[in-house]
Assembly symmetry: D2
């Protein structure tokens, strides 16, 4: 192992830069050469590669986004595309890859390692916290806090105007962000893909609350559970009360990473380099109980079960 | 003048609480009694009134929303409603009113002072900064900074993913927030109600930029100029490039007020009380060139002209 | 168990209010009566007690500080003081206490439960994260992020002015905050009570770095390890380079709690009420590996070992 | 005018980067060549010069500090030093300079333009807002908001612990930041260089307040008025009450600039380039009543009078 490559792929997440910094500097410390691959797997295919030194990653620890940029690659989904990627890897004498991203990124790693002889290690970096083998993915803590700050602001208006707000947060298949901000934001209810939900029942609650004088509501909706607009319309149709919708959208992907995300990035980046040096491949790093945890890509991408009953009930008790 | 009332009306804005605090404490300092009217003009009609003392406004200077709550009142729009409001004013021995809000709030004040003998002074508090007679309204600086922080986050993703983002900000009739955040956020373009805009021309720019390698764009849209969704669709139709939409919505109304908004609230609240004591009525307070400025309600609500050519051109040069 | 009391004691920490909210509402949900004790153990002795209902804890989830206020009590350290406290507990028919705070708060609980028949459960709430039996204490995540944001700002100036900054953070006996922000902030070095440190060696590094052109440094100092001023003077004496000192101080205790701290507060508050109902006493709640963990007060207050070698070395590699 | 230089000098301030961006891009738009001078006047003397293009200033609008770095230059204070600087200017064919900074920066400009034939235009960028001819300097709005956020956090603890806090803010000769945050933060008192202050009288107020039950105080001290530590000691000596000191220090210089500071930077940078093109020299740009205002360097650096009686009295009424 003389020369490694690092790439970020899929949706960007806060802390990707901190992870790149850790990987590059740890690799240099181990006397490895490091190249950065731009635009994820697409850039690998197109040989968008640049040498990284110590200074390449200066002053990025606190910045959102990724200096290596990211993309989703249709071509890499094909056997032909991956073959071309592998040609670039060989041509550039890359002996191992660190893949920073989520589910899709790891699946790319699975395909690559199954078909070719190139060691790949994954670093979990996605706002959805939906990978197995780690209690937290890099970026999820920041995304939750960003959404929470927005909800705190919405609460000011909801209370002052006495209105019902439906706030749509990210999470196509995962209710992680939604559940966290619902509890943290003191929301009145939350809809997530992992739980059946009865909008009509909620509307009954709203009407009853209204009679008791409770007029301001915040309802969190994970984008994968429903459209915020649709839920708001249902509520208005049923209760005749005015509703307002906020779709937080991509604001949740950006911003300076929290301490937790930066420290996680530092630790997991270092670990990934260490695993490559040990000759490992097809593994993802993670943290469980504050200890490093290593799992196979296949396990990491398996549907993560989010236990929600207890926390949902607690949320309802607390509102 | 022995006893004054204070109310907040219309859309809430950051700094309303700081204004209430200033009015209450300045009035108490002048040995006046003060009552707070809940829910704006609606609460006036319904006699939702409570006595305010020094402690009533403790620890609110930094809080968004309004402790007096706010509402839009259909009943007050009728002569009958205003008559009932005036009965409540008389019954509660209120000798003068401070009205905190925007355009609609002031129009309420105009109707009230024209029809009855009750002195009213307005304090400009709206995120749109669309009142005449003041360089800034309380709340507009905070709203602009809140939107700007969101745009900074979006920029992280826009740059990393190399996408076109359309960001819809508040401003039904005013492009103030949109223009400020476009310049402050380094946006590529901005659509506001005050300017004609050629979407097709912008699409040409995008295509040309794309050829030169400029792929990430942020386009700000004031809600009064167009729907963000519609503009995004037009861009995609024309350029075949992917777009993302963010609608910042009510997040912009909440949050802790900036220093400027708090200081403005302190000064203008004090001035409003002073005017009532001097026997003035039908006036709005404001600040011009860092000096207090007093104008008639009628002037304050006249359509404010936002000069945009120079600043728009500067924005285009800077991108 | 019909009626419980809740108090906050010792230094305040972000999330105390969120914990109070959880305890009060969970207790009410279980049909318990709840009283809040003001000013910690001092307020207990002086019978500063007020009944808490659902509305008593509205809109506090996102606020720093504690609505119950906090104090350090000299009198409670005496047997006589505790006897008086117990008299108040009996007089007010309080059947159990939830004690929110850190080390000193728990020691109060130990004394109380040893001497009298009053069930006490502890909720860990301290910025230092220095209690055993829990991976995180409520407030520590917020404090770390607050300090980190300050360090990000200092980095702007340190880089622009090319200066050496010594930043003193909180932590009298614990280097937790210092270590976290050193790694998260990309600091060049860190002094904590848990590690021997050779200032002269660091000065040699600085001089050598200076020769290579590295001129801006950020050095984190936990208040328990050294005075920031003293370290800065040593550096200047040794290297003849200018230094600047920042003492972050009590800023680290305040502010709106992070999502993690709020969710932890929600969960641990609920658990504390549950334990009282089960007849438990002399225990502290906590979280390990995202699961609730319950330990004796005696174990909780035992000196927590902070493993620092690995993370310190990583920090040095990454700078 | 074919080629201009830009430098930042003195203490850094948020918005310097936004100003550099505006100057560079406006100059390029006018077909000028632009060079950046590193490390202020020192870098000019040492010919630390680099060509700036459109991309040189990408993604810096929201960043604190200055990419051109800054320094204080002893050598430039000598006639000999300035002569060497002028040699570099000539050698590099620089036809005009934009000087970004405060008082000291402008004085450098005065010396340079008096002794040599090099047009210089100043852009006001200092957190102290102490330059004549402009209602606001770039950076002051951000610094005030940064200090205010810290004070909001301190207020959480001050209220919870019922303590007296003395908060020292920046401002060696100017009480601008101190006064703004005192009013905006709802402080109980403020000490600034511009006003005589009787600490003993304040201590009497504290004692009296204490008797009435007012126990938590926040007292703001501008560093130029007194040392926070000294004031705290005086208070404790006189009142026997515990005090806490926070010295915000260089945190106030950093951070992402506010909307106001970014927009000001955009406008003033553009104006500075325009003035150079018009053949002007020895002038500083500014804003008065939202209009561009141009003054001589000599006027700009004259001691700015800060009117404080009215705002100080208002602050006292509001606490």
């Amino acid at each position: 192992m003389k020369r490694i490559g690092v790439l970020t792929s899929g949706g960007d997440a806060p802390g990707m830069n901190a992870a790149i910094r850790s990987i590059v500097r740890c690799a240099l410390h181990e006397k490895l050469e490091v190249v950065g691959v731009l635009r994820g797997y697409d850039g690998l295919i197109n040989e968008e590669i640049r040498t990284m030194d110590h200074a390449s990653v200066s002053n990025i620890i606190n910045r959102g986004g990724t200096i290596l940029k990211t993309a989703r690659s249709a071509e890499f989904m094909t056997r032909e595309g991956r073959k071309r990627a592998m040609d670039v890897i060989r041509k550039n004498k890359i002996d191992g890859l660190v893949l920073i991203g989520g589910d899709g990124t790891y699946r790319g790693g699975i395909a690559l390692t199954e078909e070719f002889e190139i060691p790949c290690i994954g670093v979990p970096c996605t706002i959805d916290n939906d990978l197995n083998g780690t209690e937290a993915t890099i970026g999820s803590d920041t995304a939750v806090n960003t959404a929470l700050e927005a909800i705190d602001k919405i609460r000011d208006t909801a209370t002052s105007m006495e209105r019902i707000f439906v706030v749509e947060v990210m999470g196509r298949e995962s209710g992680f962000i939604a559940m966290q901000v619902a509890v943290g934001g003191g929301a009145e209810d939350v809809l997530i893909p992992e739980r059946k939900f009865d909008v009509e029942e909620m509307c009954h609650d709203i009407v009853e609350g209204n009679i008791r004088g409770k007029i301001s509501w915040i309802i969190i909706v994970a984008e994968g559970a429903a459209k915020g607009e649709a839920i708001a319309r249902q509520i208005t149709d049923f209760t005749s009360l005015e509703t307002r919708v906020v779709v937080l959208g991509h604001v949740q992907r950006g911003g300076s990473p929290t301490a937790q995300d930066r420290i996680l990035a530092a630790r997991l980046g270092a670990e990934a380099v260490g695993l490559l040096l040990k000759g490992e491949s097809g593994k993802a790093v993670g943290v469980v109980s504050d200890e490093i945890n290593i799992v196979d890509f296949e396990f990491a991408v398996r549907k993560k079960i989010l236990e929600t009953d207890k926390i949902y009930n607690l949320m309802k008790i607390l509102t």
